[in-house]
Point group: C2
DNA sequence: GATTGAAATGAACAATTGTTCAGTTACTGT
DNA sequence: ACAGTAACTGAACAATTGTTCATTTCAATC
């Protein structure tokens, strides 16, 4: 028999995304079966295929969705008229904040690259590179204006990304520091790293 | 029929580790089957179970082995008589060098934590924490001696680890920079981050 | 109250999974 | 040459996988 609640399609679609994100982040794409997802949604396996052509696309959509949200959120935040240092501060704080707010999506976007087909991987990698290029552009601007100094702009970009993204691996909501403090500390570390 | 070459057990054992590390690093633990490993080794599935009680233990041994090697290699490198800044330089350079030399093992150690049983996870996490604690101790020593200054020793530790470990995600042997240069650049970035 | 169309079921499918083990092969020491 | 043993095979197993689809359920419309 069908669900007794009057759940319409769009709601199920959204629930599938949420549940899939949670399960995949916790156990990994290959370790989570469509049946597990269906059970967690409260539905039979077959029903999932009304919303996704296959499991791979389900993962791909999650990752693309996340990366596009990062991009557009940063576009809306980037103080493009400000100087490089101010923009760098905005970027660092944004990155930490955004990642702390979406730890599961971040996890998946960084851990499940291997699970993508080559075609899907190419799409996701392009999105990632685009985002990282924005940071690198800020650093190079700063170098040109002599308000930022680093040994190598490219390495500094990757070092910053790695350092900032790593926050998701240790931060806990019930820990010693709240998000605001963590955001501030990371920016102070970053500024020391790049200041002239 | 058995192998025609006169391969003895120890060689097969070693080959299994190598092949498993390569395959798991490339496709992930859950996505690699025992049959794939066996085929790559040049053996039938059943033969693997002469060397490992099960698949989970195979993964666990790889990870424990790697982390123990990191620890003992650092113990042999740590200039314990030197000052905190010098020790920090040694740590940063060691970490980058060691990770660039073992990208697959590093990948597995960071990506497959979810694939471990709770008991095995606890063991691996303890090893990781021990290693990270060494870095944190150096930073705190430096703070006490007023030769290192950071906003927060704990966060700085995690930021450094994240930044240094991230090198494996972008470094390519045929890239613009060789390992020595990368090692040096990372240390310069780290030093700027923590200097008083 | 009958009709419709979307939503979901539930059973089936071929393939693949980790693991076991009785049997075969190859090597070592005598 | 022979026995003993370690290494390995090859087939089998129960369970689980992603995916399909004829059928059923349900809510809205006429």
């Amino acid at each position: 028999m069908a669900r007794t609640q009057g759940s319409i399609g769009a709601e199920t679609h959204e629930k599938i995304r949420e549940v899939a994100e949670e399960l995949i982040a916790a156990h990994g794409y290959a370790a989570v079966s469509m049946r597990q997802i269906a059970t967690a949604v409260g539905v039979q396996v077959g029903a999932l295929y009304r919303y996704t052509p296959d499991k791979q696309t389900l993962l791909f959509d999650l990752m693309r969705n996340h990366l596009e949200q990062v991009q557009s959120a940063w576009d809306a935040t980037d103080p493009t008229d400000a100087g490089p240092v101010e923009r760098l501060e905005a970027f660092c704080r944004f990155h930490v904040r955004f990642h702390l707010d979406r730890p599961r999506a971040v996890f998946i976007a960084y851990m499940e690259l291997r699970s993508l087909t080559p075609e899907n991987y190419a799409v996701i990698e392009t999105l990632r590179n685009t985002y990282e290029a924005r940071l690198e552009a800020i650093i190079r601007d700063g170098q040109d204006l002599r308000v930022i100094r680093v040994p190598d702009a490219r390495v500094a970009t990757m070092a910053l990304i790695g350092m900032l993204t790593g926050v998701t691996t240790w931060y806990r909501d019930d820990g010693r520091l709240d998000r605001g403090r963590v955001e501030r500390i990371y920016w102070r570390l970053a500024r020391r790293m790049v200041k002239v």
